[in-house]
Symmetry: C2
Subunit: 278 residues, 2 copies
């Protein structure tokens, strides 16, 4: 497994692979890998000949009061896991190389970036699209995998790829959960024992919404109200619970098959997200 | 000479060229070509095996009160000129194909985009960087040529290319002028006979600044004041006259070799730009 820190060196390797007509797969991550990341790596592994994974905690997608500094990192463990998955190359750039002092360029996908998670994290998705475009230009993959837990992120990146005429194909991997249903996230490590137990309510409220929909509940307001109540009962502080169209991310007036129910809530200082498709 | 309107078709052609290791040159234009464009085409022609030119009047780089609708167009004449120059491919996309109804993505180079021309045309450079990135992703050129008349534009695009790790090399062609010194521009056609005569003052004021610098004038304020006076005497309405660092575009405190003197002024409703390097 190649370990590359430098953009120019990576470009050289990629150029060789391209010249040999090797198909390239790519999974961008912020490290501190869990089964969610590994599931994406396994999907991508099957679809390409050369698989690159990046580990980069991207400062510009964190707000000034968010957890950039304390975001969990464990490079050694990550590398062991990636090697075990048969990854061919790990790209681990420095913040200084990605954003030198005179760095000035950003990419923005309007409308989609300011709703849901974007409403409470105003510069988050601009940070995500900017780093993903930079990485895409270096790695030049044929396929790239994103997880459905960050559903909005995947939709925004798909839109950017389409609008900018990029060639990469985007695959979405399903949400991987703990046994009790909590969606895997590197941030779960922040949770206290009680918070960890309470956080299961996120998935439970989504399961309830799905059940209720099956039994005939079509009113998004009613569904959202009930979900919020349930989450608050477990000391979750709601950021948002919304029922939206899975492509435009705009609120729906009536629930239907395919509607995305997405939510974010704080347990203590830890903000968790989850979602389901009806 | 190939004439292509469709992105997918162009991508297919480019892919073939790439597979054959053919070097690709690119000159993006808004059409209504003049010797300024042709000089760039000749520079690019010498540096590549396959030369593509785009003609696209890019709506998003015009302000709501600017001249998008009346911007001069003459496709037939343009195509004749491009054929004569040995251009291999002309890309002439529709506005609808470049910006479909659900288009959402933009690229912005901060600081550099809000000064000089950006101060009076606030969304202009965002429009320029967005279309250039889109075109770069489709044409994938090895080299691309821009004119020094739009000096700020070239600097901003260079910054975007660097920040986004794009591989294209940017060449800058010198300003091409009429016999009396007026910089060539598709917009010169808007000028009345009197305005056309008066507009020569732009180049004359720049020539004066250069002469004065040679004779020892180092004070930018004094230089700018004198230039503004001269332009106003010929009924030019000043947008800006500035002496700046040619890389950062920030005002200099003392003129020196390499300083960029850049200006924009209106003659009637027509906004003209020009510049020189000391």
């Amino acid at each position: 497994m190649l370990f590359v820190r430098n953009v120019a060196k990576l470009k050289k390797i990629i150029k060789q692979k391209k010249n040999q007509n090797v198909t390239i797969g790519f999974v961008p991550t912020m490290g501190y890998l869990h089964e969610g990341h590994l599931s994406l790596i396994r999907i991508a592994r099957k679809k390409c000949q050369f698989l690159a994974v990046s580990i980069f905690v991207n400062p510009i997608q964190f707000g000034p009061k968010e957890d950039f500094k304390k975001y969990p990192r464990n490079l050694k463990k990550d590398l062991r896991m990636l090697k075990d998955e048969g990854v061919d190359l790990v790209f681990y750039p420095s913040v200084k190389d990605m954003y030198p002092a005179d760095y000035k360029t950003s990419v923005y996908v309007k409308e989609l970036s300011k709703i849901l998670c974007g409403a409470s994290r105003p510069h988050h998705f601009q940070g995500v699209t900017t780093i993903v475009l930079k990485l895409l230009n270096v790695v030049q993959p044929d396929i790239m995998a994103f997880g459905k837990k960050d559903f909005q992120q995947a939709i925004i990146i798909k839109k950017m790829v389409e609008d900018l005429h990029l060639d990469v194909k985007i695959t979405m991997g399903k949400i991987i959960r703990e046994k009790d249903g909590l969606a895997l996230s590197s941030r779960n490590i922040y949770l206290s024992k009680t918070q960890r137990k309470n956080a299961v309510v996120l998935h439970e409220s989504l399961k309830w919404a799905k059940q209720a929909f099956k039994k005939g509940l079509r009113n998004p307001k009613e569904t959202i109200k009930r979900m919020k109540m349930t989450i608050k009962e477990k000391n979750g502080r709601i950021d948002y619970v919304e029922a939206v169209d899975p492509c435009t991310l705009q609120p729906v007036k009536k629930l239907q098959k395919g509607t995305l129910i997405a939510l974010a809530a704080f347990f203590g200082k830890t903000r968790l997200i989850d979602n389901t498709i009806l």
